[in-house]
Symmetry: C2
Subunit: 337 residues, 2 copies
Amino acid sequence: MTVTIALDCMGGDHGVKVTVPTAIHFVKNVPDAHVILVGLSDEINAALSRHPHNKDRLTVIHAEEVIGMDEGPAQALRTKKNSSMRIAVNLIKEDQANACVSAGNTGALMAISRFVLKMLPGIERPAIASFLPTHHGQVCMLDLGANVDCSAEHLFQFAVMGSCLVTSSGGSNFPSIGLLNIGSEDIKGNEVVKEASELLKHSSLNFKGNVEGTDIYRGTTDVIVCDGFVGNVALKTSEGLAQMLGKYLKEEFHRNLLTKILGVLASPVINRFKKRVDHRRYNGASLLGLRGIVVKSHGAADVYSLGFAMQRAYEEVKHSMLDAITDNIKVPEQREL
Amino acid sequence: MTVTIALDCMGGDHGVKVTVPTAIHFVKNVPDAHVILVGLSDEINAALSRHPHNKDRLTVIHAEEVIGMDEGPAQALRTKKNSSMRIAVNLIKEDQANACVSAGNTGALMAISRFVLKMLPGIERPAIASFLPTHHGQVCMLDLGANVDCSAEHLFQFAVMGSCLVTSSGGSNFPSIGLLNIGSEDIKGNEVVKEASELLKHSSLNFKGNVEGTDIYRGTTDVIVCDGFVGNVALKTSEGLAQMLGKYLKEEFHRNLLTKILGVLASPVINRFKKRVDHRRYNGASLLGLRGIVVKSHGAADVYSLGFAMQRAYEEVKHSMLDAITDNIKVPEQREL
């Protein structure tokens, strides 16, 4: 089976300069992939003409409009019906694509995807999930910002979806799940977390109990579940800390001539270190809970980075992640506590 | 004026082995400081006898009991009335000490301090505040875990207290305040955060609006306000990420003989880097909102690290932080929105 990915070519900070070469590269490396390039066809064709490419597995679909990075989701949903993002998502609905990837406005992508594709049965809220590096592998964390207020039921549904995402990404078939809290004891945390813990304990999921912020990068569990406010803060705090540490390290190696020489000498080691923590390898956040596979790339993504988001979408299709979620979620009426 | 600090000598992972030398060192360096060493007097005196020390500015007060690191706060409060922690806090209440420092059980310290000292007028909830390093200085963040559910009023009170703490620590006289959120726009966040934002906008504080997780280490503002669940997760996530990056860097330098040699060569640079990000320099979390100055040290603190917690307590006394909070908080009846 060919996996067709609709790529919103206008999204992100760099538009066709990054999206088109990524698509060319992707179909070259993945023999059963087809990419539909959606956006201003003049720009896309001009970008295509600059590189040799496989014409059979790259299709262009014109879209008149572009959604800006600062546009409100409701506004984008209502007024930009011919945007590259909207048309890319529509292609899933119309069975012309198996998945959609966009580096555009997150809020608009979520609103459009939810409106066009609708939710999977038994899932009340979509969640944003991403992988983060750990001491010895990676962890899937969700929600990273789609929901600022969550009920215990929502957190439970996130656990099911995160579990399916891990399995679909070549991870464990029975992923361990941690509930993000401020202490590992049962008595800790707010009411929602305590209630979610009870739901998870009585489920068929591989629930390991509460985990703390320190456990994220320790890789204590395969999945970490939290509400979107907490998840977003944890993710962005990490981003800020990594930037600061990187800046400090650079400054120390640039302090004087001697340290600069040491920096050059140590560069093979430092570069290996940098490669290991390169956030680009973790690019691609899955919008879970929808009746379709939608992956959001970081807006600043380059060709290397966007390729990982494409790969994420490809794997979710290949491993029938949506079927897995549907099979594993019981619709509320059926669930017993 | 002499600043008298009651030090719970039994708290923390190392007890008198760390607390007593820290006290000796502290009074040696701070000419107007006096430390009351509270705990098992035999142990304290034995530790004192091992080092030359200033007898005039070190007093021992015996305490029969010790609160364990895993004891429940309610249990500790009810049953351990002769514990070193309880007696150290009592000394503030009895005007024998200006502040208390403990590396013991956080929950017990909070419960005992709140019970013995009571809250300042106009403050409904205590908060845990600490300083974190930024690109170009430090930021005061609160609450770091005392409150899992906060109202907008609580967040507002945290802002006032954080502001006073910054000024008392030699920082700005009009500290800038950021409200931790998942986007900088006003429409972002949950209802509590939105309401807190309104309260802050209409206050006399130097409120800069919403900030995101990335802003913590960027040092966008002098103070960052959030609820204790989010603050605790952000802090512990940072701890976990820093550990992982440190481990990765070490591993890369230990990969083979060549990288080990490079590691030795680069060690002056790496050590400067490590010193700059040494979390021990940020040890000492202030328990704010109480009618007394209480500072919690990390349980694993060594002499170097505990000294910073002592210094924090000393500065809060010197700068009359409690008066500043009282002057800056309006009791709820008086506040107009």
